[in-house]
């Protein structure tokens, strides 16, 4: 009988090659993470003698001291405020802009879209000086807004692109049915487009959150008061303070990246769904 199944048969050798390659990639990602986390459980001496192995004695106090200290939570709050407001503003602005680009043709719409997309090519670091001057002129230096607004602006290109592609892939007849039902553009956006776009909202939200969470240059340039520092700057200060106690620095780093990893694991399905939306016919 002819095999009509569309399943691709994979030879054992190929499978072995795939598993070995994937294990290598996984190791490249995991080894530094695990080493950092384990390092936080060691004494300084243990860390020097045995940097990659399991701790000879599990020192929980490294983590406990940080968790019971005020600094960790204050910096986490700063990071949460900056990342949270950045995500909120990015979602609001980019979804509305993308909706217009997806559904409304107006004079210069393509040029305006391209203008936003050009932003994809410029990381914030390349424009840091003019950005600093503009933020200073606005009187936003050493405030959360001085970090949030540039982050939103630099995130718009990618967010608009993702939202626009998603909106354009929603069936045209839904749009027409909603108009017959009495929707205008705003009601269609609110009642139909947005509720149907949860995967892309999650994707843009998470990508923006992670990007803001890890942002270093902008807070470094815009913030001066230590009490306003988010985690990446906090780590820098912490390292300066405890530069010789590497086990504490490693514990601090582990605790700061933990929330991102948890969020990523919880939302990876949405991230992949959003990034590949429209890639294949559903």
């Amino acid at each position: 009988m002819t095999d009509t199944s569309s399943t691709v048969r994979v030879s054992t050798a190929t499978r072995l090659y795939v598993y070995v390659s994937l294990s290598l990639v996984a190791a490249i990602v995991l080894v530094p993470l695990v080493t950092t986390a384990l390092g936080g459980f060691k004494t300084l001496g243990d860390l020097r003698l045995n940097p990659f192995g399991l701790p000879s004695e599990w020192v929980w106090s490294n983590y406990v001291d940080i968790l019971f200290g005020e600094r960790y939570w204050r910096q986490m709050m700063n990071s949460l405020i900056i990342a949270g407001v950045t995500v909120f503003l990015t979602l609001v602005v980019s979804s509305m802009a993308a909706f217009c680009f997806a559904h409304i043709r107006f004079f210069g719409s393509n040029q305006l879209l391209n203008y936003f997309l050009i932003g994809l090519m410029f990381p914030a670091a390349t424009a840091i000086l003019p950005l600093f001057i503009r933020i200073r002129d606005l009187g936003l230096l050493d405030s959360y807004w001085g970090v949030i607004l540039p982050q939103v602006a630099f995130g718009l290109g990618m967010s608009i692109l993702l939202f626009r592609n998603y909106f354009r892939n929603l069936p045209e007849e839904l749009f027409q049915a909603a108009f017959v039902d009495g929707c205008g553009y705003i009601r269609f956006f609110w009642y139909i487009s947005l509720p149907l776009s949860r995967p892309i909202v999650a994707t843009v939200g998470i990508v923006t959150f992670v990007s803001s969470w890890n942002s270093y240059i902008l807070p470094l340039i815009m913030l001066n008061t230590e009490s306003k520092y988010p985690w990446p700057l906090g780590i820098m200060v912490y390292r300066g303070e405890f530069g010789t106690d590497w086990q504490l620095v490693l514990a601090f780093i582990t605790l700061t990246i933990l929330p991102t990893i948890i969020v990523f694991f919880l939302a990876q399905k949405h991230i992949i769904a959003g990034l590949t939306a429209g890639a294949v016919k559903s």
Partner: protein, 354 residues
């Protein structure tokens, strides 16, 4: 309920005109079908009536009011789409009540009206389900429910049954007809399926390349097609067409075919001797066992009550419909009789019925 009027309606995309000068009047409570091949402009015309497409020229009225500048909502129409276009994130009840919610109707009123529509369409048990949990037929009923719940002036149907399988299509066709008889709302129905149009509509509008070819009741179109296009479009299997020339005396005209045989036509036909014509013979009007035309049987297609016979005559393939019990075999000679009153004659150049 309301009448619908189209006066000299045109639609152009740049230099390309897709709807040419259409004028049509749909009576209050009438069920009218727009039929034609793909790209003939029927859906565009419907979308122009709905307000989803601007019109380039002309005037559209609903209930005697010019609606050219009105939004779909202001026109008080309801539309059923080919793909159902149900909102996937809403339940059946929310889908049906959405337009009422937008119109500011109170929640108890929405519940009452949705309940009534659901009862009418046997959707009561499905109100809390999402569209993804429904079958194709159920989704189509919800789409109709969404349309009737708002009690619109006009129903617009855009090929609503095209996505359903053959059996379900027949069932839904009956339901749509029953629904129209119950609510009596003016309905405009777009389809490329002439059987759907014939069975549902009070009148049919046949469109071709953005123009109206003929408007009439289903039987008028079947019995007296205005031209070759309508003759070929209405009726299944399609009408057999043969090239010929008018010959014979004025009181006993015949069509002389290319291979020399002559076929009598009614003296009432307005033909002149020597005129190049196309002769039209409906498959169901060919009587098996007659002696007017015949040839080798090429294909036999039994459908149960009837059998379709494909045979060769005058150098081309002809189709005849005979009784299912009639003995006919592939490769044998098939002969058929013709009633001259059931022979259609069209001018070969203009295609107009003579």
């Amino acid at each position: 309920m309301a009448s619908v009027g189209l006066t000299n309606v045109r639609k152009s995309y740049g230099a390309l005109q897709v709807v040419h000068d259409i004028s049509l009047s749909v009576d209050d409570g009438e069920f009218i079908a727009l039929v034609g091949p793909s790209g003939c402009g029927k859906s565009t015309l419907l979308r122009m009536i709905a307000g989803l497409e601007d019109i380039s020229e002309g005037e559209i009225t609903i209930g005697g009011i010019v609606v050219n500048a009105m939004t779909p909502r202001e026109r008080n129409i309801a539309m059923v789409f080919q793909s159902y276009a149900l909102y996937p994130h809403m339940t059946v009840g929310e889908n049906m009540g959405f337009n009422l919610k937008l119109a500011g109707v109170t929640k108890p009123d929405i519940a009452t009206r949705v309940g009534e529509a659901a009862r009418m369409l046997a959707l009561e048990d499905l109100l809390d389900r999402k569209p993804s949990q429904l079958s194709g037929g159920q989704r189509q009923r919800v789409a109709m429910g969404r349309a009737i719940v708002r009690d619109p002036a006009v129903f617009l149907f855009d090929e609503p049954l095209s996505n359903l399988d053959a059996k379900l299509r027949v069932q839904m066709r009956t339901e749509i007809k029953a629904l129209h008889q119950k609510v009596g709302t003016t309905s405009i129905y777009v389809t490329h399926d002439q059987i759907e149009a014939m069975t549902l509509a009070d009148r049919i509008v046949v469109l071709n390349a953005g123009r109206i070819e003929q408007v009439g009741t289903p039987m008028e179109l079947y019995r007296t097609p205005a031209n070759l296009f309508v003759a070929g479009f209405i009726g299944s299997p399609a009408m057999n067409l043969l090239d010929g020339t008018i010959d014979g005396e004025n009181d006993r005209p015949v069509v002389r075919l290319a291979e020399g045989s002559a076929i009598d036509i009614s003296p009432l036909r307005k033909v002149r001797r020597g005129q190049s014509v196309k002769l039209g013979l409906r498959p169901e009007h060919l009587t098996a066992g007659g002696d007017n035309i015949g040839g080798e049987t090429l294909l036999v297609e039994p459908t149960g009550a009837q059998t379709h016979v494909l045979f060769e005559f005058a150098g081309q393939q002809m189709t005849a419909i005979v009784d299912g019990d009639h003995p006919v075999r592939h490769g044998t000679q098939f002969r058929a009789g013709i009633d001259k009153n059931l022979v259609y004659v069209f001018d070969r150049e203009s295609g107009v019925s003579l």
